[in-house]
């Protein structure tokens, strides 16, 4: 399987590259340099059939239910990119190994470099959009690492971050687009989506999909106004600029547009957006490039311009536009890769990249000079180079296009002239002698005349010449097949170098003439550029960084505002938001408050409610803690009474036990606490407090009334109640739900209790309390037998729980009380029950509960599935069935018992003021 083989080989190379370089040295370099050519030749040989019209697909299942599989395809357009990546990669690897020799971070560099190559190959061959997205993001990450290679420089780091933010930000938009596409088209597979193209294009979500996908493509391909990251990326070493930021990665956006053209293209939105953005980028990039003096920046802006051209061509509605795009896609990779490598070599040799300074270098670098001149001629579109073939087509398309005809043509003319000037600036100027004796000096200890430095540019430049001279022989099949794929219809057109003497040729000649004139005036252009830069303080990258800084300080501001650390403020904000949301929901749902039914007054309930209301009033008015605790207990007991009155005996029991324990723990906790301080609030503060409190109360009342009023579906509990006796052998439906139907929930809740008690244990760092001097003789003798009785009662509650009120929770609470009773009376330091510590009870309980679930897993492959065994009758308890459910309830019992014991133990150990003082010291 070709794609997997390529990917594995490249990933292995990336992972091994640092080791190979470190341990093998010279031979290691040869090994690394031989990987890309081997893969290139293999891929080229294996993909021969593609140019004859075959298509190959592979698919490895991954997340089949989500439609995300490792789908790969050899399509003409993808294979083209893949071969460019591997082919240019071969040359850049050779060049890069020489360029970075002696760099201490060489190992790291080649890891990221090969990782990038792998991501790019994966991107070009994937047939599944989600997989494509993964590789897409991986290229951004690799690019970030490579741009930031010289990370000791601030500008390097900033540029790397800019590039990352822009491309990954676009990547997120792309992901959204992909997900929407999958939603609308029913698949993530590109070949399947192409068949759904008409449905997608007429869908109401089409504009959203379009903008998301295009945002991803345009940021990656550095289109205006996101172009600024590309010149910044020139902080990277030259091989990276030659490879990622001219020949391959920045083409990914264009590639994606070509790939999605059969799905999203051919609509007015597509044509207008792409052709206008492309034209603006093309012109702007070319104009800015003209006034640059830094070799790499200058080349970067021409790359921006070239990418703009490609995007524009993909957007134009002309039969030859796509053909022009594919040819330009290829020819640009050839000459731009070559020129970047030349620029890097010159910088290494002379220590400068300023074209206005470099002069007369041909004598020192004859071969590099020839390569540069050839590449520059191709770039300026002089026959018989590949660039000429491309440019002729571009002019023809621009002249014949219908929409925005004059706009496109004039943009094209300006860009053509600017490109020509820039090509001469890069390819000719540094090598030509400016004045007698003005040759730039070469650093004596550094002479990059080595093979590795000139072979890359030379191969690409000569390739450009050959391809241009015989376009029919080299390119016909590749271009025709690729265009057929992008257009999704058969396309055939002969490629020729010479089209005869026509309007297009005249335009080319005019371009050439104007270009040469402007080239002669380059000094004035440069000073004009300097003047502009000084006059206008802002640049695209500056604006972007200002916006980014703004976002960061906004985040800091909101964090400071919202996370002030004041509990009071949090509660106020939370309550106001909650009330606001409730009110909004109220308005939207249009609920009118209807008071349920005729009111029949139940005096028993009413008196309980009055008691609770009074208890609440006492609670908020209380000055002493004891009063507050008792009032709280009053509310709790009132609730217990409500539970009893409305048919919930289990709840009533639990609530009463918990209230008792809460009271006890509160009482222990308040020992040694200072008195409640009277509130020192202003009138405004008091009003706000009252307002928020009253608002919350009113909102909750209305919410409760609404909840009573709404019944959207039949309650699930009806089914549970019906299945309770026949399937779960229990009459107490509440208990059956807890330990059988929803046992997994209960297990989670028990685990929460366990964690709370463990946290308490960690905070306490328990130390044995001193023996208490006063013991109550009466209590000590009484508790000798009482706890045993209480414990037996707890077991009784546990066992009967399945049929009558009771169960693990209630039994556990009662058992804990027996342990506490012993402790209260004897005052021993540590609390025990049946010689077991709280921790032991808790842990044992949790293990038993989990084990009872595992049994079901083994027997019926379903965790917590119940198993029932023999049945027997106990006196007083009644029928008990042995089964996993009983064991589960036993586990709950033990956890609750252990947790309560633990909480009590910690608070009791802190209750005595003398020890408090000791701990504080």
């Amino acid at each position: 399987m070709l794609p997997l083989l390529l990917l594995t080989a490249l990933l292995a190379t990336a992972l091994l590259a640092p080791t190979v370089l470190r341990c093998l040295g010279g031979p290691g370099r040869v090994i690394l340099a031989s990987v890309p050519p081997a893969l290139f030749l293999y891929a080229a040989a294996a993909s021969q059939g593609i140019w004859k019209g075959e298509q190959q697909y592979w698919s490895l299942p991954w997340h089949e239910n989500l439609g995300i599989n490792l789908d790969f395809a050899l399509t003409p357009w993808g294979t083209l990119l893949c071969l460019l990546v591997l082919g240019v990669g071969t040359l850049v690897t050779i060049y890069g190994l020489a360029y970075l020799k002696g760099d201490p971070r060489e190992n790291r560099f080649f890891f990221a470099f090969f990782l990038f190559m792998m991501a790019m190959v994966g991107l070009s061959l994937s047939d599944n959009l989600v997989i494509l997205f993964l590789f897409w993001e991986l290229t951004s990450v690799a690019s970030y690492l490579l741009i930031g290679h010289y990370h000791e420089k601030l500008e390097s780091r900033k540029s790397a971050l800019d590039a990352m933010l822009v491309t990954v930000g676009g990547g997120l938009a792309l992901l959204a687009g992909i997900l929407l596409l999958g939603f609308v088209g029913g698949s993530y597979q590109i070949s399947e989506l192409v068949e759904q193209a008409d449905t997608i294009r007429s869908h109401s979500l089409y504009p959203a999909i379009f903008w998301c996908v295009v945002a991803g493509a345009l940021t990656k391909s550095a289109q205006f106004p996101f172009h600024f990251w590309l010149p910044g990326a020139m902080a990277a070493p030259a091989p990276v600029s030659a490879y990622l930021h001219s020949a391959t990665m920045v083409k990914a956006g264009v590639f994606l547009l070509g790939l999605t053209h059969p799905i999203l293209g051919e609509t007015p939105l597509w044509h207008n957006t792409l052709s206008i953005i492309g034209a603006i980028t093309m012109t702007w990039g070319a104009l800015v490039a003209m006034v640059q003096r830094d070799l790499k920046r200058l080349l970067a802006f021409t790359t921006v311009s070239a990418l703009g051209t490609l995007v524009m061509l993909l957007g134009l509605e002309h039969e030859l536009a796509l053909k022009g795009a594919v040819i330009f896609f290829i020819s640009h990779a050839f000459y731009k890769g070559a020129l970047f490598m030349v620029a890097g070599a010159l910088e290494k040799g002379t220590g400068t990249r300023d074209v206005s300074v470099l002069s007369g270098l041909f004598k020192s670098y004859p071969l590099l000079g020839i390569a540069a001149a050839l590449a520059a001629l191709s770039m300026s579109g002089v026959p018989p180079f590949a660039g000429f073939v491309a440019k002729e087509l571009l002019y023809q398309v621009k002249m014949e296009t219908q929409a925005f005809g004059w706009f496109i043509l004039s943009c094209g003319f300006v860009a053509g002239v600017a490109n020509l000037v820039v090509a001469f600036n890069v390819g000719i100027l540094p090598f030509a002698k400016k004045k007698e004796g003005a040759e730039t000096s070469i650093e004596p200890n550094y002479k990059p005349t080595r093979f590795s430095f000139w072979i890359g540019p030379m191969v690409l430049a000569v390739g450009s010449l050959l391809v241009g001279a015989f376009p029919g022989f080299f390119l016909s099949d590749i271009v025709n097949r690729s265009v057929s794929q992008i257009a999704n219809q058969d396309f055939y057109s002969k490629l020729k170098l010479w089209h005869g003497f026509n309007a297009v040729l005249v335009l080319s000649l005019v371009t050439l003439a104007v270009g040469v004139v402007i080239y002669r005036l380059r000094d004035r252009l440069w000073s004009f550029g300097e003047g502009l830069k000084n006059q206008f303080g802002w640049t695209a990258v500056g604006n972007f960084r200002r916006i980014w800084e703004g976002i960061l300080s906004f985040c800091l501001w909101t964090t400071r505002l919202l996370q002030s650390g004041s509990l009071t403020q949090y509660v106020v904000v939370f309550m106001i938001v909650a009330i606001g949301l409730l009110t909004a929901a109220w308005r939207v749902s249009g609920y009118d408050l209807s008071i349920p039914g005729p009111i029949e007054l139940r005096w028993d309930v009413a008196s309980v409610l009055v008691l609770m209301t009074l208890a609440g009033w006492f609670l908020i008015r209380s000055k002493r803690m004891l009063t507050a605790i008792l009032s709280l207990g009053g509310v709790g007991m009132g609730i217990a009474a409500l539970f009893a009155l409305y048919g919930a005996p289990d709840l009533m029991l639990t609530q009463m036990l918990v209230e008792t324990l809460t009271l006890m723990l509160f009482a222990l906790a308040i020992c040694g606490l200072p008195k409640i301080q009277p509130p020192q609030l202003t009138l405004w503060g008091r009003s706000l407090r009252a307002l928020v409190a009253l608002g919350s109360g009113v909102a909750i009342t209305l919410l409760t009334l609404k909840a009573l009023d709404v019944q959207v579906a039949a309650p699930v509990s009806q089914e549970m109640a019906a299945r309770s006796v026949p399937e779960a052998f229990g009459r107490n439906v509440v208990n059956v739900i807890l330990v059988d139907f929803r046992a997994l929930d209960t297990l989670g809740e028990v685990a929460v209790l366990f964690i709370a008690a463990a946290g308490v244990g960690a905070m306490a760092r328990f130390r044995s309390a001193a023996e208490r001097p006063q013991r109550s003789v009466v209590l000590v003798s009484a508790v000798r037998y009482v706890p045993l009785l209480v414990f037996v009662f707890a077991i009784f509650l546990l066992l009967r729980g399945h049929n009558e009120p009771g169960g693990g929770f209630i039994g556990g609470l009662v058992a804990a009380m027996s342990a506490i009773l012993v402790h209260l009376a004897t005052g021993d330091g540590r609390i025990r029950l049946l010689r077991m510590t709280p921790g032991a009870w808790m842990t044992m309980g949790l293990l038993v509960a989990v084990w009872s679930g595992v049994y079901g897993l083994l027997e019926s492959e379903s965790f917590m599935h119940a198993w029932w065994g023999s049945e027997f009758t106990l006196p007083a308890v009644g029928k008990v069935i042995i089964g996993t459910v009983l064991f589960f309830d036993l586990g709950v019992f033990a956890v609750v018992l252990g947790v309560v014991m633990k909480l009590y133990e910690v608070l009791a150990s802190w209750a005595h003021p003398e020890e408090v003082g000791e701990l504080r010291g």
């Binding site: 928020v692 409760t704 009334l705 699930v716 006796v725 946290g759 608070l907």
Partner: protein, 118 residues
């Protein structure tokens, strides 16, 4: 009767929020305890209070009596009672621990122990 229960719930909520907004950590905890109670009783009553009867199937029967209360809400509330007890006890220990390590136990003092302002 539901109307009066709902009004009582609202009143208790008012008390709970009032307590949550006080300076004293002890009263904040009392508010926390109260708000847990309020939540439990909301869940309990929102399933409908029933016309009497228990959520226990009488002997020799296979189904609950007519007009029974909702057993699922009861099961939810039962665990909620125990859990809110657990968290309350946890907060009590926190309060106590805070008291042992610092003299001031107001919410303002807590805010200053952690500096989030850079």
């Amino acid at each position: 009767m539901e109307l009066f229960v709902a009004i009582t719930i609202g009143w208790l909520m008012t008390c709970a929020v009032w307590l949550l907004l006080s300076r004293s950590l002890f009263r904040v905890l009392a508010g926390l305890a109260l708000i847990a109670q309020v939540a439990n009783i909301i869940v309990f009553s929102s399933a409908g209070l029933g016309d009497g009867g228990h959520a226990v199937i009488p002997g020799k029967e296979n189904r609950l009596a007519e007009g029974h209360p909702d057993p699922l809400a009861q099961a939810l509330v039962l665990t909620a009672i125990v859990i809110s007890f657990g968290t309350l006890a946890f907060s009590l220990v926190l309060l106590k621990r805070n008291r042992l390590s610092s003299v001031d136990d107001t919410t303002q003092a807590l805010a200053q122990t952690e500096d989030v302002h850079r």
